[in-house]
Amino acid sequence: MPQRLDLLDPAEVARLGGIEIVAEGVVEGFLAGVHRSPFKGFSVEFTEHRAYQPGDELRYLDWRMLGRSDRLFVKQFEEETNLRSMILVDASRSMAWRGAPERLTKRAYADRLAAALALILLRQRDATGLITFDEQVRQVIPARVKAGQWTRIVRALIETPDGHGTAAHAALQRLTALLARRGMVVLVSDLLFDRELALAALRYLRHRGHQVVVFHLMDPAEAELGGPPEVRFRDPESSVSVVVRPRELARAYADTVRREIAAWRKACRRHGVAYHHVLTDMPFGMALRLLT
């Protein structure tokens, strides 16, 4: 029985090949594990009934038909083709970091997750675009559904170098101008920037009617502090450094991280933004499933 790539360790999957191969493999596995498109929602319309088969979700059962004919029917929907999705990938310097050599960098994980997500969306004939950014917007692939769009997206991901600082606020503002019609915005980032400014931009997108999804990437080493007895940690973006004894500070640090995640989650929920915390050792399939 062939293994499903979407459920394997991301680093192992990444060793299979480039972003395209990995993304396609992940998407194939992912789609094989679900009965229907995971993204049915406001962008689909009812088309016809069909007889219920074991395994169909009960939420699509037509109860009215059941009452009239005493037979089980499920409702079938037709997907729209005018959903516009834009994937924002943080390419800042902090994303090019991994806590252990056997893991993917946050940037590598984000690229593969974005590529897989774009492939799923495009297969659903949704117009999908890409923006990469660090302290400024680096690549912009407008949302399209035409052939070769995924290749362009993947190429843009590959061609975007690791940046320096992070200016999510500017990138998100730029995005608002590119998304004239309402659609879905997926932000893939380690969120190591000013939360209030970023939330202001996300709030604006929500105000414009966009569905906003945030993937908060974090290396496991960032969630749980470790290292030598005493070490000077330097922020690769700002060069700010601090000398700490990881063993002494581990608990306080873990508390701080938990508080930060909780703060992001709470702020996003308040503004109708879907927030997902993803560690870079999480299989891609599980990360994608967070969207369903």
Partner: protein, 587 residues
Amino acid sequence: MNFIHPLALLGLAAAAIPALLHLLQRRIPPEMDFPAVRYLSEAERESARRLRLRHLLLLILRTALIVTIVMAAARPLVRVRAGVGSAHEPTAVVVILDNSPSAAAVVDGGLVLDRLRVNAHATVASTTPADRAWLMLCDGVVRGGTREELLATIDSTHPGWQRLDLVDAVRRAARLVDGQPLPGREVEVLSDLQRTAFGPGDPGVPAGARVLVLAAGRAVANQGIAAVHVSEGAAIIELSGPTPQPVPVTIRIGSGRDRGEVAARGLATLGNAASGDTGVHAAVTVSLPAQTLTPGWWVGEAALEPDELRADDRRPFAWRVAPPARVTATPGAGPFVTAALGVLRDARRIVDGSEVVITGGDAPPGGAARVVVEPPADPALLGQANRALLARGVSWRWGETGTPGPIASAQLPMIAGAAVSRRYRIVPQGDGEQGADALATVNGEPWLVRAGSVLLLGSRLDTAWTALPAASGFVPFIDGLVNRIIVGESEVATAEGAPHVEFRTRGTDTLGATVFGPDPRESDLSPAPPALATAALGGSRRVEVLSPDQFAAARFAGTRRADLSAMLLVLALILAAAELGVATRTH
């Protein structure tokens, strides 16, 4: 606070190790990229105070742990109340164990010495190797040695025969402990505290030295023989202690086949020497069968019935039975002397002869070995008489007329107190014989002087000069002069020691005897009141008279210390556990 092993305190330098490690660990740390520095900074900012407190707490705990262990190794001693703990500071202690004869008294079924010995044993057993201990017995010898040696000495101590002057003993003991470079100085007096054991003077106990005195036990009555003198055919038995009437006395004379026994129940009378200083309170006179004893040295023993103190119930004595002196008197000696010699001749105390001549200032007949010379009745002959004395080599002469007064004499008690109304002063002259001594005095001036073979009187033996010829002691006085004094009295000395008699000899001649026995003051068992003992031994600031329980509690109390090492080790364990807990929680 003092330490048994003070050198271990050098280890306190190790207390700097935690601080040094803390400083040495402040090296340049390795540098690593870490994107989430903002979380790190926030976490550090929030926990900085807690971390600093933990670091400080760990530093304190580790330093305290080292200090505690080092202190425990040094065995600290802290002053504690009496009765708590057994350790004490190094102390120089002298235990005065009074095993004088009075310690042999039986009180409440046991020897007094046993009671004293228990306390001495406890004191020596309480000493530590850091202490210096000595033991002083009644012989006054200060014995040093190891604890085991001293304990063995105490266990083998028996009542001795020498009196111990407690004031002198404390003086010597205090001087000894004061010279020791130790923090504690203690003198322990274990005695029956006889009133007579406190001699004169101040022991001079130095500041810082404690004198602990075991309070006296129950007092018992005692009667003993202080001394026995044989004089003019009678044994005078001097008694000490309370005197029940009459006193049964047994006299045993001689030894072997010559041994005889005289049982007497003499009536004790207050003697002339009754005195608190000598311990003599009364005397019993027992006549000896002098006529049946052949000339020579005789040894006897006087004994009382047994009482609580057996040591003084028997006392030996010695005397010499001499052959009757061959005596003659010149006409100048006077009628009283002639009459007295007649009485003595009738009693066969003397026989006629010229071995001893009594003259009245006139020249003695030629060949006379020994002469008793009265001053001439005619003052005009005084110069001639003095020249005759000088020619005989006598270093004394008659001088000016002296003042009247009573006669004082220790060797001739029978004439003591007799009035002298007329006399010549007896003064030294020329380079004569140097062995002269005064046998009797009047107003402190010599009245009867022995100069070799010549006895010189300051007055004529006549009632116009002195009342002595009319006194009852006159005949015994003449007897003593011709039989004892002039022929050179064989000296019987007394000495302290186990009762026995030793003779002094030169060649085959016996020159004298020494009678050994306990000091008469040992017979007085009445104890000194605590106030008297305190005052005599140095005053209340330095001397404590204590009951046995108090004595045990006060022993080494001045320097008693509790050993804190066990407590410090427990504290070290607690500190180690606390350090482990804090460190584990931190990590």
